[in-house]
């Protein structure tokens, strides 16, 4: 009795430590994966295309900058001066000709006749026409003087300002609220600092997640190795098996609640030339989603549509409830023999347990989604003289997926071992 108890206790403490390690690392993976999800969500909110490329306010600001620049940098070139002069001259000539014709009209009144005579004596209309050129020159010179140009620019700029005030949409208010919220949350004051904070935080979180996930899987592997070493000591098998089931439970829970696939489609940059100046929109998030299996189920269940709810229930049943029940049944089966329900769950229900199907399904979804997004975004990639757009697709599998894969393989191994260490059930089946 003593001889079995002592190694039992030793074994339990040893594996207990490993189990605690796995739980701790699993918890860490879960925490950091959630943190990553939240940061990315905030990032995608503040960089959403709604507040950038789709916002009239943004376009207005960018365009008005270009126009202001154009107005301020404008100066009349000699060529334009010449053209203007020609135009003014022409205008003046017709004016003079008109005036002369007016006076030359046959006059009926005495006063009119006198005026006409005086005009003809005093004014030589040819000489008047000759004067047109110097007058036009004066006008142009006056208008193109620096002071005058500055004044005209002022007028134009203020007129543009008026037009700008008549162009707006509803983003500014929403945008202000969003930025306010984000800046407060991350203790930053400008977009550059925000981007930097997000970047460094994500880097740290990513490294942590990888480290923790690896440690967790390491604990599980260590436990398995332990078991392999102990495979000859029959009296310890039950204890080992129960602890292994706990490991599987931890893997399952972490795998279910950590994000599995992340979809992130962006327009990295959109540049075009307007009036010789570049207009740039950067980092426009078109679409962002990051979900765990649990999120997928809750999203489906929270729909109004009955078909979505049905699917949600089915997935919940086959991927969460059934695997947990089966783990439980396997544990119970060791102590309670010959219970029909327990036996069925432990040995026969694998046909209904779709965790392995889920792995393949998620992988297929990931690849398919990735492929479709890539080709759709590639259609948006334009490179020509006037317009350049760059799109990126950061769709990736997340740690949750790999942990879930770990669970499925572990579960396979467990099923195999269970069949080996419980010959009773198999022989019962055979006898039937």
């Amino acid at each position: 009795m003593m001889r079995t108890k002592l190694p039992n206790i030793l074994l339990i403490t040893g594996l207990g430590i490993l189990l605690a390690g796995a739980v701790w690392f699993g918890y860490q993976v879960h925490i950091s994966a959630k943190a990553q999800q939240e940061i990315k969500q905030d990032y995608s909110l503040s960089n959403s295309v709604t507040f950038g490329l789709f916002s009239v306010d943004q376009w207005r600001d960018r365009l008005s900058e270009v126009i202001d620049h154009q107005i301020n940098g404008y100066s009349i070139t000699p060529e334009q001066k010449k053209d203007m002069q020609a135009a003014v001259e022409k205008e003046l000539r017709t004016l003079v000709a008109k005036t002369v014709a007016e006076i030359d009209k046959p006059q009926k009144t005495l006063g009119g006749k006198l005026k006409k005579m005086a005009f003809h004596t005093l004014v030589d209309s040819n000489a008047l026409q000759a004067q047109v050129k110097p007058f036009a020159e004066t006008i142009i010179q006056k208008v193109s003087s620096p002071a005058s140009q500055a004044r005209l620019k002022d007028i134009a700029a203020s007129k543009i300002g008026q037009l700008e005030n008549q162009t707006y949409d509803h983003t500014s208010e929403a945008n202000a609220k969003v930025t306010n919220y984000i800046y407060q949350k991350y203790h930053v004051s400008d977009p550059i600092a925000f981007n930097k904070t997000v970047h460094t935080r994500l880097g740290v979180i990513w490294r942590n997640t990888i480290k923790n996930a690896c440690s967790m899987l390491g604990c599980v592997l260590l436990a398995l190795a332990f078991w392999w070493l102990m495979r000859k000591t029959v009296q310890l098998q039950t204890t080992l098996f129960v602890i292994a089931l706990l490991f599987a439970g931890v893997l399952l829970v972490v795998g279910l609640t950590s994000p599995v696939i992340e979809v992130d489609a962006r327009i990295q940059s959109l540049k075009f030339m307007l009036l010789g100046e570049q207009v740039i929109f950067q980092n426009q998030v078109l679409f962002f989603q990051s979900k765990s299996i649990w999120d997928i189920i809750t999203t489906l269940l929270s729909q109004q549509k009955p078909d979505a709810i049905t699917v949600g229930i089915l997935i919940l049943l086959f991927i969460v409830v059934l695997p947990l029940l089966r783990l439980l049944a396997k544990g119970i089966q060791l102590f309670v023999s010959n219970n029909k329900v327990v036996d069925y769950l432990a040995f026969e229900a694998s046909k209904w347990d779709m965790a392995d199907v889920m792995i393949v399904g998620m992988l297929m979804t990931y690849i398919g989604l990735n492929g479709i997004l890539k080709s759709q975004l590639a259609n948006l990639n334009i490179h020509n003289d006037t317009l350049t757009t760059n799109t990126v697709n950061y769709t990736s599998l997340q740690p949750g997926y790999f942990i879930f894969v770990g669970y499925v393989f572990f579960e396979l191994v467990l099923s195999y071992i269970l069949k080996r260490i419980t010959p009773g059930y198999v022989s019962r089946r055979k006898k039937k």
Binding site: Q131, S158, F287, K291, V311, M354, M362, G368
Partner: protein, 416 residues
Amino acid sequence: MLLCVEGFFALRLYTLSTQQEQIKQDYTDINNITLGLMSVDNWKDKVADIVSHQVKHFKLTPKQKEELQVEVEQVINALINKAEALVNKPQKSLGGKIKQLAIKTFVNTDKIRAQVPEFARSIIAKVDNPKQKAQLSTLAMTKFNEAQHTGSLDSTHKANQSLTDKMYRRYHVSSSDELDHKLSTSLENIRTETYDYCFGMLGCILAVLACWWFLRKRVELHAVLFIMSLSFAFILLAVGLTASMIEVDARIKSLDFVLLGEHIHFQNQVLFYESKSILGVVEVLFKQPAADSLAVGFLILCFSILFPVTKLISTGIHLLSKRKLAENRIIKFFAFQSGKWSMADVIVIAILMTYIGLNGLLDYQLASLNIKSDELTVLTTNNTALQPGYIIFISFVLYGLILSTILKAITPYDAH
């Protein structure tokens, strides 16, 4: 008898689902972005309003007027200076001298100078007066109308026109509101009808399973019953594969802004609409250039067609043929284990649905910040929905799993 009913329902379901797809496609065409946001017609009126508004209400602020006044005054002053200089030039001829004298006597340049601000004001007033502006706006409008009738604009206009005309004729309506109304009512009808047939099919399946329950003691009938059940499964599979399964609908919910004082509002601009059956999804994946998408397409094809068909056939073989063949490993795998892999398709579509269709993240985030997203330009895919084909396919998979359980119970051979 039941089988006939089932077949009839299946056929109806299939035609209805195709019909629905067709109507939805038309509906999308009508509400498409090219006919709304991108349509010249829609913009024409709005731009016309803007032009006339801008020209008619072109107003100079007092400050601008002041600056303009200074400008005009300076030009006039410069002109007067020039004229004076000309007059004051020493004249050689007698006539010239007399002229100079006369001008100096009659014309007082200082007086004229004093009047300059008055002149300038009247010039500006002339530019700024309402009548002038009305004239200008008509002029601008004529120019604008001329510009409208250039070739490229006309051709898009014609294309749109012919499209809408065709739609109107097809549905015997005369206005877009009427068309909208008609399409939505007929869609609603078709939807309820499809679901009725869908439930009819499921009812038949349940009836079959009930038969099994009642006849569970009559061992001699089992083989016949099982073969009949297999044909039900085939019908389910055929409908599940060909009826549309998921529809994806991406739109710009609203586009609402003020452009140069003119309120511009577009709603529900459909960017993208697709309705796909499983085979359609496979087709889409096969059309992608990347090899990995091809692989996924192939896998879905396997899980949705090859596996189920082989499964149904091998269950039949297992039950009817001799022991040796029945206990063949491959036959046994397909008969008992392959069923759940068809669920992979169900899962793929479900995940796609939650990622693409239920894309409420931005709305949710905005709502949590107390921002109404109605007036913002947001991309939504809220109208993405699962279709009856999906339900039928799921029922097929479950039905198949139940059948293989039944088979296990009734088989004379070893099922393991």
